[in-house]
């Protein structure tokens, strides 16, 4: 059997097995629908609430995209600063770690206080959540630039800007994309989380997170899982876009984007 067919068949087989297990659990133990909705009930709920969920998903997409793009840009700028100077790196890196290790749920109320209850807060939370992997990966890529290439630039006495733009940044591009991939999966989750929090704090701003809190309060479990399904789809779309850009940009030179036998 050829490889491409397997690449499709195996995930389908895995998915079928999992869904089968899901139904089997429900029926074998006689679990009620409100405790464990099964896939067709979730899809029905999705169909029923498609207008509501669709509008919320669009709202979330906008926030997640803005947060992601600002993390992609801000993370890049921050990585350039960190990688260009060892003292700056030593001075700031520990605090970057602290920012990452502080639970967002603690920061979120402050952000709402400062930025209001609208989309601004949600974008900021999304930014904070997805910024870290971009900075860390890109900085790591830039400082691990191949020694031989650095020596070439030494011999030619290249200036600091030439080193960054002709050498370190191109070298770090695959690392940047590795960071963007993680950020792309985190951004929708971050946005939904922020919507959930700001929604419960301040009366609601729409989005999948707010919708989830409403469905949760009304104990609409199948609808709740329909929201989860929608956010998964959103995450996959984000990831697919990044993977495609990665492949187009790095196709000719980097192993992450080239088929093994090409």
């Amino acid at each position: 059997m050829n490889g491409r067919l397997l690449r499709w068949l195996l995930p389908m087989a895995g998915g079928t097995a999992l869904v089968g297990l899901w139904y089997a659990l429900r029926h074998a133990f006689g679990i009620p629908a409100w405790l464990l909705p099964v896939p067709h009930e979730i899809l029905e709920a999705l169909g029923r609430e498609r207008a509501l969920i669709g509008a919320a998903a669009w709202q979330t997409t906008q926030s997640a995209l803005l947060g992601f793009l600002s993390a992609a840009a801000g993370g890049l700028v921050c990585a350039i600063l960190l990688a260009s100077s060892r003292p700056v790196r030593l001075a700031l890196y520990p605090y970057l770690l602290i920012l990452q290790m502080t639970p967002v749920i603690v920061l979120a109320p402050f952000i709402v206080l400062w930025a209001g209850r609208g989309m601004g807060s949600i974008v900021i939370v999304t930014f904070i959540v997805s910024f870290f992997p971009v900075v860390v990966n890109t900085t790591h890529g830039m400082v691990s630039t191949d020694r031989g290439l650095v020596e070439l630039f030494d011999v030619c006495n290249a200036g600091p800007l030439q080193r960054i733009f002709l050498l370190h940044l191109p070298f770090a591009t695959p690392y940047y994309f590795a960071g963007l991939r993680i950020a792309a999966t985190l951004a929708p989750i971050g946005a939904i989380f922020a919507e959930y929090v700001t929604g419960s704090i301040a009366g609601g701003t729409g989005g999948l997170g707010f919708l989830a809190s409403v469905f949760n309060q009304r104990q609409m479990r199948a609808e709740l899982l329909a929201v989860a399904l929608t956010s998964c789809v959103l995450g996959f779309v984000f990831l697919a876009v990044i993977a495609t850009v990665n492949r187009l940009l790095l196709r000719r030179w980097h192993a992450s984007a080239t088929p093994a036998d090409a």
């Binding site: 011999v155 030619c156 290249a158 002709l166 030179w253």
Partner: protein, 259 residues
């Protein structure tokens, strides 16, 4: 030491140690004449790369004096180019753009850059792969790109650190012949580090033999064969005799004789 008037590179009493480790190089004296092809040969770890890196100002001498055209070496000085042991190509740039890198660093205008890179591609016979990326090239082709990238700077002094050391013998022979052919037209001074006696004899008009711990020069051997040299040199009796003699000097140096 008497320094000839037409010396291009001069080393006087050069020594090197890293930190407070043992001396890597002790008291190295020699001069490389303008337009000559000098090879440096010696056992692994004797400090050949270190010596070359000091001449390229990549690392400072601990004591002694190095002069290029009568002045201390500087990074990025015009007229000096370096070829590394590895091809060190930028994997994200196609062949021609790789060749243009040193010119970009020196802010040469785009049209001029492209003209000179195209000329180099012709010189190393790689016009057919100008748009290829390094991963699409063979080891020998990558090294030819690396040579082109050095020559595009129109060097007067070419420093080479075992540039063909990682290649198979046949490819190395080809590249040796190509290198001499190119030099017929350009006449830069060459300072060539190698661990292959045959390569040193084939290429150079003079061979410096080093010994290790601490690194120093134990023999200075002139190579009398006239240029231009072609592959037929490798079949000549004199050539093999000289290869044997240099190999002997190298072994004697390793055993610590002649010091």
């Amino acid at each position: 030491m008497t320094v000839p008037l037409d010396a291009h590179v001069v080393l006087r009493g050069v020594a090197k140690r890293f930190g407070d480790g043992p001396p890597v190089l002790a008291q190295v004296d020699f001069a490389v004449q303008l337009g000559s092809f000098v090879s440096l040969i010696g056992p692994s770890g004797c400090g050949k790369s270190t010596l070359l890196r000091m001449i390229a100002a990549l690392s400072p001498a601990t004591s002694g004096e190095i002069l290029i055209d009568g002045r201390s070496p500087e990074r990025g000085q015009p007229g000096v180019a370096f070829i590394f042991q590895e091809p060190t190509l930028l994997p994200w740039l196609p062949v021609q753009a790789n060749i243009e890198v040193p010119l970009r660093i020196r802010r040469v205008a785009r049209a001029e850059r492209e003209r000179r890179a195209a000329e180099m591609l012709r010189l190393v016979r790689l016009e057919h792969v100008r748009g290829h990326y390094p991963r699409e090239l063979s080891g020998g082709m990558k090294m030819r790109v690396s040579v082109a990238r050095a020559l595009v700077q129109s060097p007067r002094l070419l420093l080479m650190d075992e540039p063909f050391g990682a290649l198979d013998e046949m490819t190395r022979h080809h590249l040796n012949e190509e290198l001499l052919e190119i030099r017929e037209a350009e006449r830069w001074t060459a300072f060539f580090v190698t661990h292959s006696v045959a390569e040193a004899v084939f290429l150079s008009d003079r061979i410096l033999v080093m010994a290790a711990r601490p690194g120093c020069i134990v023999a200075d051997v002139p190579v009398p064969f006239a240029y231009p040299r072609g592959p037929e040199l490798r079949e000549q009796r004199d050539y093999h005799d000289l290869v044997d003699r240099v190999a002997q000097l190298l072994r004697a140096g390793e055993k610590g004789e002649g010091r």
